[in-house]
């Protein structure tokens, strides 16, 4: 099925349909992840691949026009490159351990310690969380910084200075649009608090089940997206201040980092959580809790920043220039 969708994306010319298909692709791969036991990953992929990135693509398409030119250039060369890569990979699979075999080296060397000892060492049932937030905490810190970088980058590329008359114009346009969406608005009003509640559940339940800071952040941001889409940018601006979001994003990163700094100041290695409490396992708990909170803060606020900048740009930008010019 994945292959089918992917092929369809090649042939499709209408960018809007492509973005929707890529949403399907995201959902499909997420289901695949569930079947492969990777529940945390499925969680993330569903909210990111099917949710956020599809939305961003849509907003981008509103600004760039939706059709692709039928120009085909040197597909032969491209095909050749692709086939070389592909056949190299197939060649590489030849000596791989079989799919699903328990004797594969990856199941023998590093992983067993995570599976067998993480309960004593960290005390969190979700192994993915304990590896993510403690054993490989620095990777995750890097991940938070990556998302922060993306937020700053989008801000640098797309931020617009809004003028008062623009806002009024958009307001009137939005109001005329939203009168039609009465049903949607009511349902959304019921759903949004629920979504936010659910985000908090995911945030704090991440130790025991699938979930964690990143997923929670995305879900929380999704609630705000929904609000923005239905009630208009300017209403959303009134509720959520842009510069406040930036501060929030920064403080998420800082919160994460400061946990590490605390362990430094206590003479332990960076991100050694055992200093946070007299009992090392409780310390790990606290560390993971704080770190996940930092991740959630940053992710939610960066997602909102990115979305606001895209959507704000799209509402401000003049209609696209005719393509024939």
């Amino acid at each position: 099925m994945l292959v089918g969708v992917a092929f369809a994306i090649i042939w499709m010319k209408d960018l809007l349909s492509i973005s929707m298909l890529s949403g399907i692709y995201g959902l499909l791969s997420a289901s695949f992840f569930v079947a492969m036991d990777a529940v945390d990953v499925a969680f993330t992929e569903a909210s990111v691949g099917a949710g956020v990135s599809t939305l961003l693509m849509l907003v981008a398409i509103t600004m760039t026009g939706r059709s692709e030119h039928p120009v085909r250039h040197k597909p032969l060369l491209a095909l050749a490159v692709v086939f070389v890569t592909g056949s190299l990979l197939v060649y590489g699979t030849w000596d791989m351990p079989y799919f699903g075999s328990a004797e594969a080296p990856i199941h023998q060397h590093v992983a067993p310690r995570y599976i067998n000892d993480s309960m004593q060492e960290i005390g969190v049932p979700n192994i993915v969380t304990s590896v993510l937030a403690s054993y490989r905490a620095f990777d995750t810190f890097g991940e938070v910084v990556v998302i922060f970088t993306a937020g700053i980058g989008v801000l640098a590329l797309l931020s617009v200075v809004r003028r008062q008359e623009d806002i009024e114009k958009i307001d009137s346009f939005n109001n005329s649009m939203h009168e039609q969406h009465l049903v949607l608005r009511i349902v959304a009003k019921m759903l949004i608090p629920f979504i936010m509640l659910f985000a908090f559940y995911v945030q704090f339940h991440g130790d025991f089940g699938p979930g964690g800071g990143f997923q929670a952040g995305v879900i929380f941001a999704a609630a705000i997206f929904l609000y923005t889409m239905l009630f208009g940018m300017s209403t959303a601006y009134r509720v959520i201040n842009q510069s406040f979001m930036q501060i929030l994003a920064a403080s998420g990163v800082l919160l994460y980092g400061s946990v590490g700094v605390i362990s430094l100041l206590n003479g332990k290695e960076f991100f050694d959580y055992s200093v946070l409490s007299s009992n090392p396992v409780t310390g790990q708990h606290w560390g993971i809790f704080l770190v996940e909170l930092g991740v959630g803060l940053t992710v939610a606020s960066v997602m909102v920043i990115i979305f606001f900048n895209f959507a704000g740009r799209s509402e401000n930008s003049p209609p696209p220039v005719s393509k024939d010019s």
Binding site: V183, V187, L191
Partner: protein
Amino acid sequence: METILEFSSSIFLLIGSFLCISGGVGILRFPDFYTRMHAVGVTETLATAMILIGLILHNPDFLVDIKLMIILLMTIFISPTASHALAKAAQHNKLMPKLDTDIKADNKKVTSSNP
């Protein structure tokens, strides 16, 4: 008791699957957007509800039941709303239902002049 639960859960699942399939056939075979939406919109809510109820009956765990119930509630809210919004948007953009007379006409007139 056990068997009754098991049995009824199976029945629900079966009905749900059947409805699903009929919805699927509908979306493939019906001639235009509105009829397709009819097929999907109607079956979807019921089928989902059936399957979820089947699963609830299947499972004794309380927490899982609660979660299933939440999903059920959400689908009951969400899917009619989505269908409603969809139909409204389609109509708003002057997508005409196909009538018998113009069934052969080209149905790609998505866009129109006035929003």
